[in-house]
Symmetry: C2
Subunit: 205 residues, 2 copies
């Protein structure tokens, strides 16, 4: 949430994180090529207080997954909400640079696996690396139903959607995809994991 | 979250709720004029399981407020998330029929007051009636800063935004507004109220 934008001055690639990457994943330029610029519309001296207020917004933690032909991938996402109930639709926010974004754009489908309070390991597995270098679903129990997107069977439940294409918003570094719910199920009776709960317990689990 | 769409067969007005309203707020047609139709893209027999999965998505509770000239209004909203950090932007979901939606469209500004675990009274005050019939902010301590939108001073904190106009999505019964953060502050150190916490405790508080 307080990660920053780091723009590669060689190729324009934007990396998100607390620090710039060791090397540009696109053009291999070194860390020193990355520049950081804020585009804030409030005075610098208010930034800390405003960012702290942003941290008080409540989120869950989810694996958002998609497909590209035979390939499957997923990533951790905290920005998922149901936006209408009839028809049932959800909105998700996904970073432009992520492999899952590429898959969702190509396939027009995604699934949301709702993580429970015991799923710390899954947050690390799906949140800390890119599917470009690592097969995140390898060995993870999944089901694939109507859209073909993998849902993590150990989750509290899942929802799968088709993207309503003309409704995608380019929000800057992220897209908001609007999805029509076409399937879903509950898998187990465990409390959903909140982002705040994960951060409060992650060093113990 | 499981409220339904009720469409007035006289004037087309769509009311949202577990039951149709006593009379149409737009044309005064009686309750019997309201029709209910699902537009689901999954078999009816899966609906309960899918809706139960949707209930596992985590939300906070917020007062979203806006202005129209001298008038101010606010409503309870659970669909607020930060979508980018640089520049800091948030997305909110608001029902088309609400007065706050009208104000946000006219003024292009809104504020989000982040409710704390002690704010049950405020959820009822701002969530159970319309600002068309009742001055919800009367007697409520507020501050008004950069946008002029009222923030509830008893909240955990607030964020105020200008709407990025060409980014609004019409999601069906609701709009998603994308807001550029232009101000905000923390007011007190209390746990934010989650939607789940409110439902679990609302009968005691």
């Amino acid at each position: 949430m307080i990660a920053q934008n780091w723009k590669c001055s060689e190729c324009g690639f934007v990396a998100i994180g607390l620090f710039p990457p060791d090397a540009c994943p696109k053009c291999q330029a070194p860390r020193s090529s990355f520049e950081h610029k804020h585009e804030w519309r409030f005075p610098e001296e208010e930034a800390e207080d405003i960012i702290n207020a942003c941290w008080k917004v409540t989120y869950g933690l989810y694996i958002v997954s998609s497909i590209d032909g035979e390939r499957i991938n997923g990533q951790i996402c905290n920005t998922v909400f149901q936006i209408t109930s009839d028809p049932p639709r959800i909105a998700i926010g996904i970073n432009h640079n992520n492999l899952t974004h590429e898959f969702i754009e190509k396939s027009g489908v995604f699934a949301v696996s709702i993580l429970g309070t015991g799923d710390h390991r899954m947050v690390r597995r799906f949140g800390y690396r890119s599917g470009r270098e690592f097969d995140k679903f390898k060995g993870v129990p999944i089901i694939r139903k109507r859209t073909g997107c993998p849902a993590y069977e150990g989750a509290v439940g899942y929802i799968e959607c088709t993207v309503i294409e003309d409704k995608t918003i380019d929000a800057g570094t992220h897209s908001i995809f609007l999805g029509e719910i076409v399937g879903g199920a509950c898998f187990k009776d465990e409390e959903p994991m909140s982002y705040a709960y994960f951060h409060a317990t992650k060093d113990e689990r």
